[in-house]
Homo-oligomer: 480 residues x 2
């Protein structure tokens, strides 16, 4: 990936920076937090992804000479501001959840501490890296749940926002639990398995389907997945595939036979195709199904006895499907004023309309059964979660919700990953992140992993944060 | 944009290429066509976009040494095939509709003629460039229709598939009719207007909303759009904005006042805010509305008397909204066999299941009223459309549909844009493409531009193509 220009931002971030400089706020430090308020539809959790790209972007952020020339041409910025951009290197600190971790609404997933202009400048870059990859990793983890132990291949490059969009999408899809991808560039860059079958145009470029199968078997006998739906799946495709498998077997072939169904009902067709393959002596054939799949289609097909054992998922994975955006936000949480950190949050007359106050760190509590129980938001400077029992307060009623006993394992979900603009965390391999994500998902209670009506996981407040929120609301209500 | 690696493809394209080489098909020429079968939901047309990026990609397509090393490591390709990739330069011919042209289901939008391996190799690259940009340009043109003569700003970078995905999205949004973008890099690269307002964090970084407005007015008095919904839109935001406008006016200010509403009902709030601004002597203030907008929300708000005159559209534009993928396909249409072109199409027992046969060129007929009337698909070698009356045949019944009189203007929608891998068309400026698209949309009959239940535009077959389809079906039905 090439280093990004500083212009990869919304213009208002640049005008805000200019405003901060002119208002004497250029050295004032601030903390911004990234979080989301709503999970993707029917999802009980999100799988965090996109951090690695973001950290590279932040490390490499520069305004080139032509960028500065362009900004000058807009007539909005004076010489001092242009110099500021020209000299800009991101020097902030970043705390983050690790990629692959399940995260939940209303809890900070990333916190950025930097000078007010620098923290502001990176808003859109951060959002565009994290929103999309988290959306796709979440979708992929749901597809993984639906597919159970079957193989899942990511096939979505053709629906991406250009080739680089596809790179982000494939990366996130693997993190969420796909086993492999058709995106060859992603295979190279991320060291993940690449897979492919056949195109309808291959089949059609030969005089007959049988000719096309034989020609393919001649070239790739060991990786033989034949696309059987070009003409007539059950009357032509599957019988021709079986014929070729038999011819190969007679010649001593030891490769693994496979077919791909790219249209039709994934349960009905796979059951019939399986029966034909089994009757012909190929009960172990791979049956790959693709075309308009998502977690719902896969779980429905499996419930109806589908014999598919490999699923190729493309469009609805790469786009997020029916809910194509994670609307994560990046909000000012605290600001430094003469050595003191002031909480910045929206205050109104009710807990619903009032934000959770201050720079907050989620602490995740795990019960004796190994399932995660509750995330409690503590003030970043409060270490009282480290031992003892902890009372969690409801974010809205501000009443005690439950007591988390001293025996519960607890750890903050965020750790520092960047200091003074330098990466201080290890760069993880995509397949290792995937392994972490798969392990983490098993820690979510099964009813919270349900694909249709998941139970809600609890994100709560510490006593101190709840009290701060209550007192802010009371003050607001006493205003004239 | 950096040149793309040849690995930006689905693996099966590489294995198909290997197969074609081994099957002696590497010099056989083929024509592939790009088309789609389904318009975005509720849309009567699509606006074609993405060609310019695609042509650059094709011109620059290369496999680097590390790409070849990676392919070798997969163990799938022999030395001859690796050499083929290593020497590969795209040398095909491309015909295409111009960007910005309205296009319709089942008609070729792009045709590629190249050696079978080369034509196959570029499938995914072509699809990922054209599907997404056409999706967004179409959505933008619908937003443009809904917004009528109001300004439309594209705000979607934060929901893009990474920064480069945002570049494609912004480009297409402008082509479809947006006036400006917040994406500063896109502003620079595509020479389109960039715009911005304020962030909530700007407002919150000051002791009070009024302080924040004054500070901003101090820096950018000429571009003063104040974000009024941070605390309480009608009781705090709008009154504070008016106060600042009055202070400025007392000091002789001649800038244009403006406010931005980023939450709440875009009709109700804009009407009330307008009344307050008008009562205070600012009836001409810009009223910018943003947050979860699309063509439906905008047209509904305008129907309810909204006083907004600028619309900031982000998420649902950048993602395509509820229908987030154009599922365009790239299909083999014809193949050369010893100097003769053979049509390649799926034949079945009914016109619904049978493709339109051969390498086809849509000819667009325009009536005396200036509206486009019908696109008729002619065999690429058939020039009979050039004069006289033309009978259009229904794609499914294969019966005559209408006679297009000799007075109707007619022209093919596709023109050659690449020859032997070299671009032969002028590279158009994005704003010029936008102008072309806006003009073209006026040629679509108003009932076909309806945002909810558009009438369908007709794509028909020439007599010759209809006869060829009928005869193929008849032959199929006579098969034993």
């Amino acid at each position: 990936m090439k280093p990004l220009g500083g212009l990869f931002c919304d213009l208002y971030e640049l005008t805000m920076v200019a405003g901060y400089l002119k208002s004497g706020k250029n050295t004032q430090h601030a903390v911004f937090e990234y979080f989301f308020r709503r999970l993707p539809e029917h999802s009980g959790f999100a799988v965090f992804a996109g951090l690695d790209d973001l950290l590279d972007d932040l490390r490499d952020l520069r305004f080139s000479d032509t960028d500065i020339g362009y900004l000058e041409s807009l007539g909005l910025f004076d010489t001092d501001t242009l110099h500021y951009f020209s000299d800009m290197r991101f020097q902030g600190d970043v705390w983050s959840a690790p990629e692959g971790m399940p995260v939940f609404p209303y809890e900070p997933v990333v916190a950025v501490r930097a000078s007010l202009p620098q923290a502001q400048l990176i808003e859109t870059l951060l959002l565009c890296r994290l929103n999309y990859q988290t959306l796709v990793a979440t979708k992929a983890s749901r597809v993984r749940i639906a597919a159970s132990n079957d193989q899942v291949m990511e096939f979505g490059l053709r629906r991406a926002q250009g080739p680089d969009g596809g790179m982000s999408g494939t990366r996130a899809a693997i993190i969420g639990g796909c086993d492999s991808t058709s995106n060859t560039q992603a295979g190279k860059c991320f060291s993940v398995p690449v897979v492919g079958t056949q195109a309808h145009s291959w089949i059609m470029s030969f005089p007959s389907e049988l000719d096309s199968f034989r020609a393919y078997a001649n070239v790739f006998p060991e990786h033989l997945i034949l696309l059987v739906d070009t003409y007539d799946t059950l009357n032509s495709g599957v019988p021709n595939a079986i014929r070729v498998f038999k011819e190969l077997r007679e010649r001593g072939w030891r490769g693994k036979p496979g077919i791909r169904l790219d249209s039709g009902d994934p349960a009905v067709l796979s059951i019939k195709a399986y029966q034909m393959l089994a009757d012909a002596g190929f009960p172990d054939a791979s049956i790959v199904v693709s075309s308009d799949l998502d977690e719902y289609v896969i779980s429905d097909a499996k419930a109806r006895g589908s014999k598919a054992n490999v699923w190729g998922v493309g469009t609805r994975l790469m786009t997020g499907g029916f809910d194509p955006a994670l609307t994560g936000v990046y909000k000012l949480a605290a600001i430094e004023d003469q050595g003191t950190w002031l909480s910045k949050f929206k205050i109104s007359d009710s807990p619903e309309k009032t934000s959770d106050p201050g720079w907050l760190i989620p602490v995740r509590f795990t019960g004796e059964n190994g399932f995660i129980t509750c995330d409690v938001l503590f003030d970043a400077h409060d270490q009282s979660w480290k031992s003892g029992s902890v009372v969690a307060y409801d974010r809205l009623t501000l009443q005690p919700l439950c007591e988390l006993p001293h025996t519960y394992h607890r750890s903050p979900t965020l750790a520092q990953v960047m200091q003074d603009g330098k990466r201080i965390s290890q760069k993880a391999e995509v397949l290792d992140i995937r392994g972490f994500a798969l392990e983490q998902i098993t820690r979510i209670r099964p009813d919270m992993r349900d694909l249709h009506e998941p139970a809600a996981y609890t994100v709560a407040l510490s006593a101190e944060v709840a009290e701060k929120k209550r007192s802010a609301i009371n003050q607001y209500q006493r205003l004239p």
